[in-house]
Symmetry: C3
Subunit: 129 residues, 3 copies
């Protein structure tokens, strides 16, 4: 499961990086906590990070269950597509929120693949043992 | 732990479904990203999903630790109450936010039961081994 | 891994407590759902909890991977610094948002240490086996 662990750490570091961008935008556009609105570019950063956290909550358990019940290296490969999707989402959303669909979809389809793999794997394991 | 894995995947699919409802409400009520306010019914969908993500962050580790240190099938049964609670929360909140208490409480008590089971199981295991 | 499990349950109970504070502030300052703005002190509670959820999503996988691939008791000790950091963050943010930095930083550095430990441990394990 080492490759699964490495993909996990990279996804978490990516999310931590996105949270730094929110902090930087907060300073740059002078949005004082606890406010989370007031400048379009701050709000974009904030929504990118919030959406990434929401997606990680689905992605990480799906990645590990698919890796455990089906095949760890295949799960790690699909998992790395999630990272690419999130990077596209970040880049496009920041430039033009309308264009965020492609990156979101790539990440979400990776998660859905892992979720269905996990479900199939767990049910097989239940029947066979 | 297969039943625990199956309950996990179902909870994640339920959360993914709630996130689709947010996306649909975003289109229907024409709330342009990055805005997250502007129409009462969009805001309800958005809060239902955000609250579900917050609860999953507590629920999933509690489910797995209780399943591991105490009893997996009992944990899966309590875990399925979480899913029912979240469905009630979704249905009631969308209709009338004031009525969201019952579903929230059912889900939260399931999580709390699992958390206390996990704590007791881990402490027992620490003492016995 | 029992100490890692105990630190996990304590971090989740702390987060549940923060969510109760949001509920209490919602009643006290009469912020009707689905609104999440309208009174400075409610917004502070709400942001404390939201930020804690975001940090838990990074912290929990980092804690477990570092505990698994490096050393469980060391991971639990670093993990308990996260709890202290979050408590400082809560106390200071509620009083004066400007002072939230110290608690945030302590928690975040604990998470970063665990993440780097996890990455190093997983890579070592990949090379050695």
């Amino acid at each position: 499961m080492e490759w699964v662990a490495i993909v996990t750490v990279l996804a978490l570091l990516q999310c931590a990086l996105f949270s730094f961008m929110v902090g930087r935008a907060r300073v740059k556009y002078q949005i004082r906590a606890p406010a989370v609105a007031g400048h379009e570019l701050f709000e974009r950063s904030h929504r990118i990070h919030a959406n990434t956290v929401e997606q990680l909550v689905l992605f990480l358990p799906a990645l590990w269950l698919c890796g455990w019940y089906l095949e760890p290296r295949a799960a790690a490969v699909v998992g790395s597509l999630f990272l690419i999707g999130r990077q596209l989402y970040f880049n496009h959303y920041l430039e033009q929120p309308r264009d965020r669909g492609t990156g979101f979809l790539l990440g979400f389809l990776a998660t859905l693949t892992l979720l269905l793999g996990a479900l199939g794997g767990a049910i097989s394991s239940l029947i066979l043992h």
